[in-house]
Amino acid sequence: MGGIEQILTLDDVHVHYGAIWALKGINLTVGEGEIVSLIGANGAGKSTTLQAISGVVKSSAGKTTFRGEDITKVPAHNIVKKGIAQVPEGRRVFANLSVLENLEMGAYIRRDNKGIKQDMEMVLERFPRLKERISQVAGTLSGGEQQMLAIGRALMTRPKLMLLDEPSMGLAPLLVKEIFSIIQEINQEGTTILLVEQNARMALQISDRAYVLETGRIVLDGPAKELARQEDVKKAYLGG
């Protein structure tokens, strides 16, 4: 990957859920400024990989390095302080809190009031629909709006690396397009993206590189455009 500095490295990461061996030695790298996606079928270990990075599940073996620092054993609530924000699967907004309170929660770890205010303006500018609904309770938003809120909330942590877990889930095609172009914009403004997607076609379109997972192992990796052309990938994940 000459030239690009590696921001995240997973070195032989294993995860067990009790007797279930979910990740069987994942090796992957994400370079500064890249969009990298993980694609694969249900149960391949995509979400588990993200959760192992963010510390929500503990890896049983292997090493995770973020910006030169070993973060394998760092608890989840401290990972975000290192500069990794996760947009979880199913959005998981704080349903009974207002849009504003949700975004403020994103800035929970920060104490720089001026910067928080700036980022709040930036987020509301990017998502005008959230601005319209700023005092509305998050649970009453539509699925797409909730996804925007989840992304906005993650942006409020001012991350270096954003982990997105199935951002297109349950959204209408037009909204999926919108969300993906927002992801690209966020990336262009300097945030590195690691994306997990069922919608492999969309994911490969916006990604620089991709990894294909099957039952806890990486079976293929390479530049997204090349993967999208490969026959077996087409057959398995792009619907022929």
């Binding site: 929500v56 907004v93 349903a95 809190l97 309170e101």
Partner: protein, 322 residues
Amino acid sequence: MLKKYFPSILACLALAVLFTIVQVGISGGLLSGYWITNIYLMGINIILASSLNLINGFTGEFSLGHAGFMAVGAFTGAIVTANLGLPFPLAIIAGMLAAAIAGVIVGLPTLRLRGDYLAIATLGFGEIVRVVLMNIDYVGGASGMMGIPEVVNWPIIFISVVLSLLLIRNFIGSSHGRACLAVRENDLAAQMMGVNITYYKVLAFVIGAALAGLAGVLYAHYYSIIQPKEFSFMLTFDVLVMVMVGGLGSLTGSVVGAVLLTTASAFLQAIPELRMVLYALLLIVSAVFRPQGLLGEKEITLRTFERWGGVLYAALNRKQTE
């Protein structure tokens, strides 16, 4: 300058008026002994309900161990004054501390559990406390402790209630409180925002337990006799009903619930066999018709006083300038 503090002054004034009315009622002989007891009980119930609400309503952990924490506080406080002959303020400190320590011991392992499991575990804790106390001769076994100094009076109750409510209110309003709300809403997402969820679950639990301990100390030093059997699951259930009827997640609701149900229970004293039936009915009716409780998550805050105060202030000002 004056305008800024006006709502606070108005709130203090309202409290002072409330305090004086009851004090005059008590020392002037206007209130019967029965109603004085019930007013004290109201204060103790407000502390119990608001502290249980901090755990169940604001942090979203369903605890049923409140009677147990209250018992720990009551018996510790009674030991300090009746058995050791130390002054009452020490009993308060010791009672709250002991309940808080019990909170840590119970909280650390059980707060990993969710929903029903936590309820069962804390319920078990409450029963263990009761049975253990019954079998310790030092605290009188099943017949309990007697001769606890009757030092609790209206000013002590009033100050305890106000300070407890202030403590909970300030905690909820701080970033710690926001963290607790986030844990309640979605603990996984809260964790991803950098909230140490175990810490906040245990913290809210311990503060709630300590305040239940305070209620226990007050209870012991008002009645002067305490028995382990009084701190059964029924007591927790009473408090839970107050919280649910008032509104899970509303501090004002807990106050309203405690006042309302203590009053109702005072009137129902004449038909004790029906009391729990009516209680249960009330819970069912409120769950069906107003599941969010009387106040939902609404609060009466300084801002309420600000609104009233603003009107009043403008009126006063107008008069002055005229």
